[in-house]
């Protein structure tokens, strides 16, 4: 494209750049709004007109991690003065932190977050690992009814989660697997597996067969050739598949809503549940959302090179 530099072209280019910047800002505005709400004093979250500049505070995060109750009468001055800064902030908001004995009662948020990590990481790993192997199998070996099988694998992904949830719920209750991490891991793995097979098949088809054949001639076994030659070549594809699978498992809502309760519930059904007791406290929801976005954003940014390249060939060749 560098070759073409007519004046008209340059003008269009400038317009395009400006347009891109504007659209990017529009797209990022809601995210900025969520992030900024996470640091706002509660009253400013719904102020009219909307507040853009304010003194940021971390009170929403303190609230996110503690169990609280509304003050029914003003707190005694000596108690207030003796309180640490974060507890003062809670008092200022008309609430009080709950305690058992001397220890502050934590909210379930850390637990839910940990559940999300366990379930999303494990299921992503399983889906990508199994998907990679299966994709290799489909790519390299002759299989009767290959297209039908691939279609079958893809079709399992198209069902709305609720369709699958009904029988899975009935089966899980027989074996006592509702509200367990394992139950959720299995569901997410099944969910992502088809996607992962399809994406990885595109990458595997791209890797020239000759590479392994040369290795086989050199005395490698097929397994050695797979692990030492094919897998390194497929890194980009694996990374891209992992990013997509992780995003999906990390954010899944419907299965988690139906299948989990106290023990295995993940964060996505939990965060909207923190609407607060008499009035919606948007700052706490925003704080929970903001923290929850961090791991997936970091993961994606770390692998972004693979993601952009990965999508290029995985998708084209499929």
């Amino acid at each position: 494209m560098a070759a073409v530099t007519s004046p008209a072209r340059r003008v269009t280019n400038r317009i395009a750049i400006v347009a891109v910047l504007i659209i990017t800002l529009i797209f990022l505005a809601p995210i900025y709004w969520i992030a900024s709400t996470a640091f706002k004093p509660r009253a400013l979250a719904t102020s009219v007109p909307p507040t853009v500049l304010f003194q940021p505070e971390v009170t929403p995060f303190v609230k996110l991690f503690t169990k609280r109750v509304q003050l029914r009468k003003p707190v005694e001055p000596e108690v207030y003065d003796a309180a640490p800064w974060w507890e003062k902030a809670i008092y200022d908001g008309g609430e009080r932190v709950l305690r058992v004995g001397d220890s502050v009662q934590l909210s379930p948020y850390p637990d839910r977050f940990l559940n999300s990590l366990i379930v999303a990481v494990t299921s992503t790993f399983l889906a990508v690992a199994m998907g990679t192997l299966t994709a290799y199998g489909f790519s390299r070996f002759r299989i009767a009814g290959e297209n039908d099988l691939l279609f079958f694998i893809l079709s399992t992904r198209m069902l709305p989660p609720v369709v699958v949830a009904i029988p899975m719920f009935l089966m899980y209750r027989v074996v006592g697997m509702t509200d367990t991490h394992l139950g959720l891991i299995i569901l997410y793995t099944a969910f992502n597996l088809s996607f992962s097979v399809w994406l990885m098949k595109g990458f595997m088809d791209e890797i020239p067969k000759e590479y392994e054949e040369a290795a086989l001639v050199d005395g490698y076994t097929r397994m050695q050739a797979f692990f030492k030659i094919v897998l390194p070549e497929a890194t980009t594809g694996i990374a891209a598949t992992a990013v997509f699978s992780f995003i999906i498992a990390w954010n899944e809502y419907a299965f988690a809503l139906i299948m989990t309760n106290r023990r295995a519930q993940t964060a996505p059904p939990f965060i909207p549940a923190q609407v607060g007791s008499g009035l919606t406290d948007w700052t706490v929801i925003a704080a929970g959302t903001f923290l929850f976005l961090l791991p997936v954003a970091i993961f994606t940014f770390a692998l972004r090179g693979h993601l952009l390249r990965g999508v290029t060939f995985g998708a084209i060749r499929k």
Binding site: G94, Y172, V275, S277
Partner: protein, 432 residues
């Protein structure tokens, strides 16, 4: 490098298989997300201090409280030892085998005399047995802006327009007039905030309040007859009124429940706002409601015939029959019904159902809204408590929501349709 990562992931996987070990001296109570649940957590922390048994109150938003509870029940899960369940659940909870029969416990402690009559009838009893201990009384009521109502200019203008004094509405007609009077979209001021959320029972409870005060009923709870009752002229008038009130609500009021209705007061949107009493603490808290000093409360007004009722909220506490800790839970309930604990429960902000506490001056004056609450608790009526109540609720939402919010059809059509739906449901379950 890659190997290390894989080991870490496998460790994560292994962990996932082992985290389900539960300690014995822990009780979990399931409830919805609202202030009373926080008060209960505070109360049970004292039980922990006394006995060493940790009690946790787990909450979920109202919109999926029912679903979460029943998926857990129907999975025969033991995540929760006790549940503070809605009154409508008694039928499903008892016939489904989810609740432990507490009849003996109830009689032994003479709870039918200790607790207020309406709470025993609606929160505890189903089919001649007791399945729950009345825990949190509640009823639908109203908050209003005293400063708007008492502004001399407004009072004068109101009198000139409607011919009577502006004040706490005596009946639904006055409620409507006041709502209309304060409806000024150009000033971003609106008349009234009512429930319209159709994801669970919010809208149904709002409509129910009007229906009961209009002298109507949802059906005959003993014979399951609904035709001619749910679509009676009284009910049609009540539903028409509800729709009219919807016309005086703030914009975007089509899926709202308690948070939004409270917000209508705190954000200066509406003159009056419907809510269950247990949601009012936020309005009395100056840190949350800048208008706390100017907020008043009243009980659900009368209908045209002078009847006065309110929709019942509130819940009883039941033991889940799949719990591993039923005996511990029983011990907890024995503690919970102790007079001193009930008094403490009320002091912390809970709406005790204990008659002695309810009737005390101290309780009635404890908050600006307790008196209205106290009055309401003697005129409450409730929704169906049959096992298939959820289907009845869905039908009600499906029939009435498009009329009230979407403006489709007429109230009569909607209610006739609802009568037909309910009839079909009862027929399906062989109730008639």
């Amino acid at each position: 490098m890659l190997k290390k990562k894989w080991t870490a992931l496998l460790a994560g996987a292994a962990m996932a298989f082992t985290v389900n070990a539960a300690a014995a001296t822990e009780l979990t109570i399931f409830w919805a997300e609202w202030d009373p649940a926080n008060y209960l957590q505070e109360l049970v922390n004292e039980y922990t201090a006394e006995t060493g048994v940790t009690v946790t109150v787990e909450t979920t938003p109202w919109s999926d409280f029912q679903t979460k509870a029943f998926t857990e029940f129907n999975a025969k899960g033991d995540a929760y030892d006790m549940v503070v369940g809605d009154s409508q659940w008694l039928g499903a909870g008892s016939t489904g085998g989810h609740y432990v029969d507490l009849t003996d416990f109830f009689n032994e402690h003479k709870l039918a005399e200790v607790m207020a009559p309406a709470t025993v009838k609606y929160y505890a009893e189903y089919d001649g047995k007791y399945w729950a201990i009345p825990a949190e009384g509640d009823a639908a009521g109203w908050a209003y802006r005293k400063d708007w109502f008492e502004d001399p200019k407004e009072m004068e203008a109101f009198k000139a327009k409607y011919g009577y004094d502006l004040g706490v509405p005596e009946d639904y007609k006055q409620l409507r007039d006041i709502a209309e009077f304060f409806y000024r979209p150009d000033d971003k001021k609106y008349g009234i905030a009512i429930y319209t959320d159709n994801s669970y029972d919010a809208m149904a409870m709002g409509i129910e309040s009007a229906v009961f005060s209009y002298g109507g009923d949802l059906g005959d709870y003993s014979t399951y007859k609904v035709d001619g009752i749910i679509n009676s002229p009284e009910n049609i008038a009540a539903v028409e009124m509800y729709k009219e009130l919807y016309g005086f609500t703030p914009p975007n009021w089509g899926k709202v429940f308690f948070q939004e209705d409270n917000q209508a007061i705190t954000e200066n949107l509406a003159a009056m706002s419907m809510n269950f009493f247990a949601f009012f603490p936020a309005l009395d808290n100056p840190a949350l409601n800048p208008n706390a000093a100017n907020t008043g409360y009243f009980a659900n007004p009368k209908g045209p015939s002078g009847a006065q009722h309110a929709a019942l909220g509130g819940q009883g506490i039941s033991i889940v029959s799949y719990s591993q800790n039923k005996e511990e839970a029983m011990k907890f309930l024995e503690w919970f019904i102790r007079d001193d604990v009930q008094q403490k429960w009320a002091d912390l902000g809970g709406y005790t159902c204990s008659q002695a506490v309810l009737k005390s001056e101290a309780f009635r004056n404890a908050t600006p809204y307790n008196e209205a609450f106290y009055q309401s608790m003697f005129m409450v009526k409730d929704f169906w408590a049959v096992p298939e109540y959820a289907e009845l609720l869905t039908a009600m939402n499906n029939r009435l929501y498009p009329y009230v919010v979407g403006g489709e059809g007429t109230a009569k059509e909607a209610l006739d349709g609802l009568a037909a739906d309910w009839n079909a449901t009862f027929k399906k379950y062989g109730r008639m």
